[in-house]
């Protein structure tokens, strides 16, 4: 899928992945690939600007923890992030219904 279609939605996707539980940066990109059935196959570095943005906004927090015997920075969804995720879900629902109505309608 063209990566430009994903722009603007990456932050919401990252929040949704972190809702399942804390993840480190590599884990986020792996889950993004797995949960999308390999449809979202972005340059892996793309996820870090999104994580930093979300951290600045207070939507996620991060700490260094041991992951598989290695010290890694792990990101967790924060309360403001849960609110932001809910809003994103509602926005997406409205957006996708509207797009669907237009794209799936075929001339008689």
């Amino acid at each position: 899928m063209r990566s430009e279609l994903l722009k603007g939605h990456l932050d919401a996707l990252v929040l949704a992945l972190l809702e399942e539980g804390p993840l480190h940066g590599y884990g986020v990109i792996e889950q993004l690939r797995l949960r999308s059935g390999d449809v979202f196959d972005l340059p892996e570095g793309t996820v870090y600007p999104a994580l930093y943005r979300l951290e600045r906004a207070g939507s996620v927090t991060s700490t260094r923890s041991s992951v598989g015997g290695r010290s890694r920075r792990v990101y967790r969804l924060a309360r403001p992030g849960r609110h932001a995720l809910e809003e994103s879900r509602q926005d997406w629902q409205q957006f996708s219904i509207a797009i669907d109505k237009i794209l799936t309608a075929r001339p008689a």
Binding site: Y26, P43, Y48, R56
Partner: protein, 299 residues
């Protein structure tokens, strides 16, 4: 390979200190995890490194994203720092001068002191105009991504703002010291605090501008920039552009207002104030001619 990549990344990043260290550490951790995953799948070590780096993306591309976000953040914070700096300089003058035994600078100041004070006031006016110019353009682009042309203008206005503020800091510091020199009842504490505010404010402005210019990557502007949005926030910018297209009107009206203001401030007769008014008008005209194009105040 990873060390070379990280060294290149460190060089390309325009964020500094702990933030840069953290980003480089995060990238290192990520690459190590990616390589470990590929090795588990049976990939040879050298190939795993190459594949992990290719999957992550070029260092320059990653750094560009980080730098762009950092610059946008700094762009939002810079106006607040500049306003604070300006208030500190003006506040410092008032704090230092007002508590002195007589109102303002009542002791008949020497010519040196008067010229210094005048120079300081002109410097503040230059800083004020630059600040207003930057504010109008920033407001017009509120919640929109600034174009290359916008960023170029903001860089120039930041320089002019800092130059004006430093000139006012120097001028007023000399004037204050001249005014309290030889006055046995001058109040030292307000003077020291006021001078500290003046110097602190101009230092803050200089440091903020230096940091912003170091972080912001600005490509050469292509054309005159985006059209102004149809929004009330764009009104000040529209007014400035309207005036810029009428340089004679803009320059004359500004010089007249500034001259009258300078004469009204001068603590002397109207005839005595006239030279200050004329000097102010001359500075306004000179400033308009020299700085007008840089601040896009005249076309």
């Amino acid at each position: 390979m990873i060390d070379d990549y990280l060294a290149r990344l460190r060089k390309e990043l325009r964020v500094t200190g702990k933030r840069r260290d953290r980003i480089v550490d995060d990238v290192r951790d990520h690459l190590e995890d990616a390589i470990a995953a590929l090795r588990r799948d049976g990939t040879e070590a050298g190939d795993a490194e190459r594949m992990a780096l290719a999957a992550f993306g070029p260092a320059s591309q990653f750094a560009a994203q980080i730098n762009s976000d950092a610059a946008t953040l700094l762009l939002r914070r810079t106006p607040a720092a500049m306003v604070l700096a300006g208030l500190a300089v003006v506040g410092g003058l008032l704090f230092a001068a007002v508590p002195q035994p007589a109102p303002g600078l009542p002791k008949p100041a020497g010519l040196g002191g008067e010229i210094s004070f005048f120079a300081g006031t002109v410097g503040l006016q230059v800083a004020f105009i630059a600040g207003v110019r930057a504010a109008a353009r920033t407001l017009a682009r509120w919640r929109r991504t600034p174009s290359a042309a916008d960023l170029h203008l903001l860089r120039r206005t930041a320089l002019v703002f800092v130059g004006g503020l430093i000139a006012s800091a120097v001028g007023w510091t000399v004037a204050l010291l001249d005014a309290v020199n030889g006055r046995p009842h001058g109040r030292v504490v307000p003077l020291v605090v006021g001078l500290a505010m003046i110097i602190g404010g101009s230092t803050l402005a200089a440091a903020t501008t230096a940091r912003w210019r170091r972080t912001m990557i600005v490509v050469p502007p292509d054309g005159d920039g985006d059209e102004l949005p149809a929004s009330v926030f764009a009104l000040p910018e529209r007014f400035i552009q309207w005036m810029a297209a009428r340089p004679a009107l803009a320059c004359t009206s500004t010089a007249l207002v500034a001259a009258l203001a300078a004469m009204s401030r001068a603590e002397t007769t109207a005839a005595g104030a006239l030279p200050w008014g004329l000097a102010e008008a001359a500075f306004v005209v000179a400033g308009y001619v020299m700085l007008g194009p840089a601040l896009e105040l005249r076309t």
